[in-house]
Amino acid sequence: MKRPIILRTAAVAVSATLVLAGCTGTSGTNGSGGTGTGAANGLIDYLDYGDFGGGTAPQANYNPYLEATRLGAVDYVFEKLMVYDNFSCTPKPWLATEFSWTDPKTLTFKLRDGVQWNDGKPFTSKDVAFTFDLLKKHQPLDTKGVWRYLTSVEAPDAQTVTIKFKEPGASTFTLVTDVFVVPEHVWSQQADPVKFVNAQNPVGTGPMKVKNFNPNQLTIERNPDYWQADKVKVQEIRFHKADSGGAVEQLKLSRGEYDTNAMFVPDIKKAFVDRDPEHNHYWYPPGGSISVYLNLTKAPFDDVAFRKALTTAFDRDQIITKAQLGYVKAASQSGLVVPGQEKWLPAGLKDQGRISYDAAATDAALTAAGYKKDAQGKRLGKDGKPLSFTFKVPGSYTDWVSAAQIIVQNLKAQGFDVNLETPNPPTYESDRAIGRYDVLFGVHGGSCNMFRNFSEPLGSDQSAAIGQKAASNFVRWNDPGTDKLLEELRLATTDEAQKTAVAGLTKVMVDQVPMIPLWYGAKWFQYQTDKATGWPDEKNPYAAPGDNVLVLTNLKPAGS
């Protein structure tokens, strides 16, 4: 190497004049483009939806049982026997038109006539029986754990499915109807259904088919042979991969690039509604209860008088307005989601079980229960030592952190010495599961299955010794009376018996305070009415925001 090396670099000229076809994210509000066939026959050309799951580098995966990695199209390609309106918890006939209990352990479904798989083959009861057997043979696919309760699923004739339960099965009805039905003629060919990604034109009975997929955009199109195709007024749905930055997504939402989305927006009114008050709307119906979990294996939390005193200690209104931006509602001590589930409430419960903030009442109740304040205003335990404990909250859940700060203030005002700790979410979840905590947040209830709503947080079989992982009973509530009520609820066969058991469980919640519900987690839901109308809202809550097929079959072109 005698001579110096002269390095030549190619100058990269960046021309901003490259005109790109396709959406690069500048427009997306007007209904031009697309196939152009839609508008002509009274359909909406296309709608822009938000994220479709599958991580940051999604891969084609339409296996409806791989909940962790499947893509959002699954909800529109496959269908279930019954579809639940998850707002009021009423089942609607879907692939099955009716059901009846022959006896408490035998459930019979009559299937809908004339339903076709989107490859033209007829849908029959054999497909349903095959589907259930598939879940039995391949446990990883049974994500609802239905086979915990079943003995057999049979197809006596082409229109009938008979499901036999180990024990009376009414309490598991929601789980059984919540199974996506897959075509036998496709799935029986698969060597390993657990690893089957179903990537090429997935065959289902649903209103839409997969049209095109790339990691940034998933497009599904109307299935013209759908059994109620007359109700589907949308030609195409385009799901867009969310950028990792929430800020960018919020910007897109406020620019009107999404017809619907489900994201948290700090100031939804200013960022979205005010941009176009006529068309931009949001509705945040309540989900599960977010509660203060006290570690019931430790003093003083094992004292029911102490827990009861704390029910009035928290300023829920301040948490809602400050930490939750007013998007949520205060939760009922009953453990139920009111008003959606009010029909389950026992008679005579004051204000549906909502408890208001009353620091003076807490102070008096604590003192009466033997937790006095000393001269410096420190709250003492029954052993006369000052009470101090920690409150844990995941540091990255900013809204929970601000709620926790208000709670810590409320507790300090009562003379407790409280420290706020902010671990990362996995550490938090692991500490909560093994019971390594004093006080923290937990989420429970909110589903349409009453047995799940109460057994998961309160059943002793969902608990474990401190140091062992509890499945879901993180407070370690261990009470024979509760277990007995849960058993009654599980085996109840009549509405009346179910109601009695649920009323008993709400009484446990109110009288013994295993946990202290504060607010209902909101289901985020924004939508625009410039192209499509008929979205569910507060005035017409015919479905919860995530009930995709119900929503789709109610959408109509704007102005029609």
Partner: protein, 331 residues
């Protein structure tokens, strides 16, 4: 020869340590992959369904058996080049996922690294050649100033100015939703548009290290006796600067560059996270967040092996370029 053998032995020992740590570290983290997946699915305000956690645990086949057996299986699999199935992208294999992300990272970071090195070396040489002039102060002060700015802040400024305010370039992603990845012009132009801002951000901060290193080395070499002798012989300033200064001053930079190329895979987490670029850096971030052990292990292994090989190459290269090193080792 002895020098090269010692380097190779050192390389193998480090490789084994890296592979072992790579196995241990993810397993020492708190958290359970199945729970991480379900809590991510449900979001923070939904109750977690234990039945679902159980099913996902079965699906992933979360490893059991003691650590030693797992370690044995792991080593055997690594040798076979079988990294298992990703948890985040089940049932796709880790190899499939890495193949999907690799081109993005290699092109984006490879190109910007090479450009940064070239630009940095040239600017540094120029600054040294015109040392203590105005050019020199602009280059050195400017690069020191830019070097003190936080990278993510620079990147966000770029996004704000060019993507949001001027709307010249997309704010993130590798390509738009309107084009399907493949060998077609539409996709390439789309991908190019998306790569401009991340590349620009890397090109702003990339050359700084090379500039400073090159300038200081060259100033030193130009002050050496042989440079003075050359000047006394009446050689032109330019010839001295290029053959006596730059050629020798660039040596440490060349080895540094080899190491930088090895770090391509690891050094992109931040830029890919900010620009949501579909490469390995972003994938690694996601793998860590999701407790995706198989994917995490493979990526870390890639990175460590890349850095180790680059180090080995740099060592060997230095031995070739600079005889003094070999002689020291031998003596």
């Amino acid at each position: 020869m002895r020098y090269f053998l010692r380097r190779a032995g050192f390389f193998l020992a480090t490789l084994w340590a890296a592979v072992t740590l790579n196995f241990l570290i993810p397993r020492l983290q708190p958290g359970d992959p199945a729970e991480a997946i379900v809590s991510r699915l449900s979001g923070q305000s939904q109750a977690i369904d234990p039945a679902q956690v159980e099913a996902i645990r079965r699906m992933l086949g979360t490893p059991d058996g003691n650590l030693l057996t797992q370690y044995g299986d792991y080593l055997a699999a690594v040798v076979r080049g079988d990294f298992g199935i990703s948890y985040t992208y089940f049932p796709y294999s880790v190899t499939h996922m890495i193949a999907a992300g690799l081109p993005w990272t290699v092109v984006l970071v490879g190109v910007t690294q090479i450009l940064s090195f070239v630009i940095g070396t040239l600017l540094g040489a120029w600054a040294a050649y015109r040392r203590n002039s105005r050019v020199d102060s602009v280059i050195t002060l400017g690069s020191s100033f830019i070097g003190t700015l936080p990278f993510f802040w620079l990147a966000l400024v770029l996004i704000y100015v060019f993507a949001i305010t001027l709307n010249w370039f997309p704010s993130g992603g590798g390509y738009g939703g309107g084009s399907n990845p493949g060998w077609n012009w539409l996709f390439f132009s789309d991908a190019f548009q998306h790569s401009v801002l991340p590349a620009l951000s890397l090109l702003i901060v990339g050359p700084i290290g090379w500039i400073i290193g090159m300038r200081n080395n060259m100033v030193q070499t130009l002050g050496e006796d042989y440079a003075r002798l050359a000047r006394a012989k009446g050689l032109s300033r330019r010839r001295i600067a290029l053959t006596y200064g730059a050629r020798i001053a660039v040596l440490p930079n060349v080895t540094g560059f080899a190491i930088a190329l090895g770090g391509i895979l690891g050094g992109t987490v931040l830029v890919e996270a900010i620009f949501n670029y579909p490469g390995l850096g972003r994938m690694m971030l996601e793998a860590v967040a999701n407790r995706d052990y198989p994917l995490m292990q493979a990526l870390f292994l890639f990175i460590t092996v890349g850095v180790l090989i680059a180090n080995l190459v740099a060592d060997l290269l230095y031995g070739v370029l600079d005889p003094r090193v070999r002689r020291e080792e031998a003596g």
